[in-house]
Symmetry: C2
Subunit: 199 residues, 2 copies
Amino acid sequence: LFVAEGEDLVSAAQDAGFAPVELLVAGEDVEPALLAEVATLAHPPRVIGVFRRPEPSAEAVSASLSLWRISDPGNVGTLIRAADAFGAAVQLSEGCADPFGPKALRAGMGSTFRVPLRAFEILPGSVALVASGGVPLEDFELERYPHIVLGSERDGLPEDVAARCDVAATIPLRDGVDSLNVAMAGTIALYARRRKAGV
Amino acid sequence: LFVAEGEDLVSAAQDAGFAPVELLVAGEDVEPALLAEVATLAHPPRVIGVFRRPEPSAEAVSASLSLWRISDPGNVGTLIRAADAFGAAVQLSEGCADPFGPKALRAGMGSTFRVPLRAFEILPGSVALVASGGVPLEDFELERYPHIVLGSERDGLPEDVAARCDVAATIPLRDGVDSLNVAMAGTIALYARRRKAGV
């Protein structure tokens, strides 16, 4: 089960076809003070919904963002939102933050209910996004590599995972700058792929 | 004055030429328990530096990201980091989160000390980034509009501010998706401008 806090998330879940196991509305089903106590939000929500987690998506994916041990829930949610915006599924490895945890759900802004979520797997046509040493992102036929693989915040992608991808790409940055936040890097790669694919 | 918590931020400030007004090292200048008590971090830092805020930058800017009432400190810090990565100054309006507050500084990852920070102003060659109705981002000569103007998380850019820009641009998203997080949108625009400018 997972909990969606606040009207926006609850209605996004329902719009996506999730039926609540339990729906608690302040002043109707439950005392407002009790709802405020169990909520993780600074401003207590008017409604909390309890839903059943979906099964991992079994659909074939034509484009995806694969997350390797991305442990910050805000990053996981933001990347799911970006994948939704640019039309990609999301694959999560072990060690990733739970996409249905409260912080990740909030950052996902409802996209978590719409994006196909699957287990991590290197698919044919994968590009590893690395902080340095890869081909500059737009210098090759990105439309041939619809599966983007992103490493953890601190350590990036381990060599053996990157080696299983077809190519490695790097976002060119100003000299002297180390890296972008992983959520920024993934968003740029999703944008660049979609622009090149012309969809 | 502002406070930098942790060795990474303190050395980034010093590397950028900020001299500490006060430098507190746990176990040397101060009791570790006292440092932990004043710190805003979950894991108490070994060092805290107190520095003088810089004057707003008076240098001419060849590229910039202008933030209109972006109130979330994480977004302000992330956008400053992206501006650093792609070589742009940052202009902040009234109502923006303080870039030297603890959360914004952390999200800035040291970029806050390197990026020229200025007051908000619409410069010639400005493009307003809007959620809908603008020219698709890459369909015009972005290199002619080096100044990107971004509105607040909730309300975007007010019409009178957008009208003072030369053009309005929109990032094309999948049908049915409302918008990107403001930090994502700004990062994509900085990336796209730099790619087109070829610098």
